[in-house]
């Protein structure tokens, strides 16, 4: 295709979208609404996956040593941990540190009641982070058998729950998004079909005077892409602003409650993705919708 022909088609496509203002606006509305719902699913999915990832990364396995162990025995346990290649990094909490922490946590500033207690009742703890959190189960069962280790603890249930949830949310959201896009593509296709129907005589004339199918098809496809992109822009504007508001509110609420566990991703981390995905998806369903609509009228 020559550049001047491409220019002509681009101009025709955009002019056609402008000429059919009402139909175009209807299509833009449908694309925008579909993408907005798509975006909500996408953001929920992304945030769950994001939080699951953080939780997995942050979760530490606690290896509690027997309180009776002396320093050299503790060093033996530490040596085993040091050698273990599955471990990304670890932190040792001494008896003293554990005692101080417990005092602070349980009694605040009033430490008079525990004056008679000593740090000897506490145990040395290793806080371990694994390179691959998927190895946790195997790691825990092995370490429970090591001499000098009293117990191994891990927030298993929470991590497994959120991991399982992120998997199912991804599957269900993915499925719903595909269904949603197919539905919106058919709606767009039907909307564009009306414009194609209104211009079927024009298409017929073009065919008779020797226009190729692509020469006829391109302006309609460009019209579909233009509608898709404008719809995408509207949806992106609403999504970003809506998400900004929700994110600010949600994160501040949860932080003051003090869980700190579930956080929404920062809006600026998802902007680029949202804009890119909306533009591509909007343009693609617009183009495909147009191509489907016009097919029937090209057989002259």
């Amino acid at each position: 295709m020559k550049i001047r022909t491409a220019k002509y088609m681009l101009k025709e496509g955009i002019l056609n979208a402008y000429r059919n203002k009402i139909m175009s606006l209807a299509s833009i509305g449908i694309v925008g609404a579909s993408l907005l719902i798509f975006g909500i699913f996408y953001l929920v999915m992304t945030n769950i996956v994001y939080n699951a990832g953080i939780l997995k990364q942050q979760s530490e396995i606690c290896v509690y040593c027997d309180p009776e162990l002396n320093d050299s025995q503790v060093k033996q346990v530490e040596a085993i941990i040091k050698k273990d290649e599955r471990i990304k990094d670890y932190k040792l909490e001494s008896k003293k540190e554990a005692f101080e922490k417990a005092k602070k946590r349980l009694l605040g500033d009033d430490t008079s009641v525990v004056e008679e207690l000593t740090e000897d009742i506490m145990q040395v703890t290793f806080y371990v982070k694994l390179k691959d959190p998927g190895m946790s189960k195997e790691f825990i069962s092995q370490y429970r058998k090591i001499a000098g280790v009293e117990d191994v603890d891990y927030p298993e249930a929470a991590v497994e729950f959120i991991s399982g949830m992120s998997y199912w949310v991804t599957v269900i959201s993915g499925f719903l998004m595909v269904i949603l896009l197919i539905i919106s593509m058919f709606i767009i296709s039907n909307t564009i079909k009306l414009t194609v129907f209104a211009r079927r005589k024009e298409i017929n004339i073009m065919k008779y005077i020797g226009a190729t199918d692509w020469f006829i098809r391109w302006p309609f496809i460009i019209e579909g892409i233009a509608i898709g992109i404008v719809g995408a822009a509207a949806a992106a504007f609403l999504t970003i602003n809506g998400y900004n508001a929700v994110e600010a509110r949600f994160n501040s609420e949860f932080l003051t409650i003090g869980t700190g566990l579930v956080k929404l991703m920062k809006a600026n981390r998802v902007w680029n993705e949202i804009i890119l995905i909306y533009t591509l998806v909007g343009g693609f369903i617009g183009a495909l919708g147009s191509a489907i609509s016009i097919r029937k009228y090209l057989h002259v």
């Binding site: 295709m1 020559k2 001047r4 022909t5 002509y8 000429r19 005589k201 024009e202 017929n204 004339i205 073009m206 065919k207 008779y208 005077i209 020797g210 226009a211 190729t212 199918d213 020469f215 002259v300």
Partner: protein, 235 residues
């Protein structure tokens, strides 16, 4: 130029529109295709434009064998044929100039060629002064002249006109026929399907008559109806 060899066209409904038609039109000829409604004129034109495929036989147009032609080649065949319809078929949202230029635009002609050819085609049909007018602002005769300019702008070797005067008054009909004759004098082969007895009789060109799908007469400098025995079938 145009050759039909033992052409039969049977539609899916079972209607036989053309029966074993043999016809040859040479370069530079002017041919009237006559016959009553349902005689097969429109089907014959549809075959020439590859809008329909024949059931049996061979159709050759401008060097293309239409029987073995693929869908992708159809636009190139149609570009080699100028087409004029009874209902003009102009693009309503384009001006006269743009309608004519459009036929060149689809061939990806150079802008300077378009700027040269379109005014010439409009001058030929006497519409130079109406270049910037939209089709709905023109009379039927003028609209048909625009359609003729569009058909001629790519210098086709064959011009096919399907009832070009069907929607026109006698005066405009005659004007269009004069133009077609002039186009023919410049070397273009012209095939006109018509019901206009007066025009056919006045112009005294080759007449090919169809009746119930069969070619019943092919006469040099003929009349609309055969004065001897077949005149009633063309009424």
């Amino acid at each position: 130029m145009v050759e039909l060899k033992n052409v039969t066209k049977k539609y899916q409904t079972g209607t036989v529109a053309l029966r074993d038609v043999n016809l040859k039109i040479n370069k530079g000829e002017f041919v009237f295709l006559v016959g009553s409604s349902g005689s097969g004129k429109s089907t014959l034109i549809k075959l020439l434009l590859k809008e329909e495929d024949c059931t049996d036989g061979t159709v050759l147009v401008n060097g293309y064998d239409l029987s073995s032609m693929g869908r992708r080649e159809i636009p190139y065949l149609r570009r080699s044929i100028g087409i004029v319809f009874q209902d003009f078929r102009l693009l309503p949202n384009k001006t006269v100039y743009e309608n004519v230029a459009f036929a060149m635009l689809i061939t990806e002609a150079l802008p300077k060629e378009i700027r040269r050819q379109v005014p010439m085609a409009l001058a030929l049909v006497g519409l130079s002064k109406k270049a910037n007018v939209y089709p709905n602002q023109l009379s039927g005769g003028e609209q048909q002249r625009v359609a003729l300019a569009r058909a001629l702008v790519n210098n086709p070797s064959l011009l096919v006109a399907d009832e070009p005067t069907g929607n026109l008054d006698p005066e405009n009909s005659l004007e269009i026929m004069k133009l077609l004759s002039e186009v023919n004098n410049r070397g273009t082969t012209v095939l006109v399907a018509t019901h206009e007895k007066n025009i056919v009789d006045t112009m005294k060109k080759r007449v090919v008559a169809l009746n119930k799908g069969a070619l019943v007469r092919d006469q040099e400098k003929g009349l609309y109806g055969n004065e001897d025995k077949n005149s009633e079938i063309y009424a």
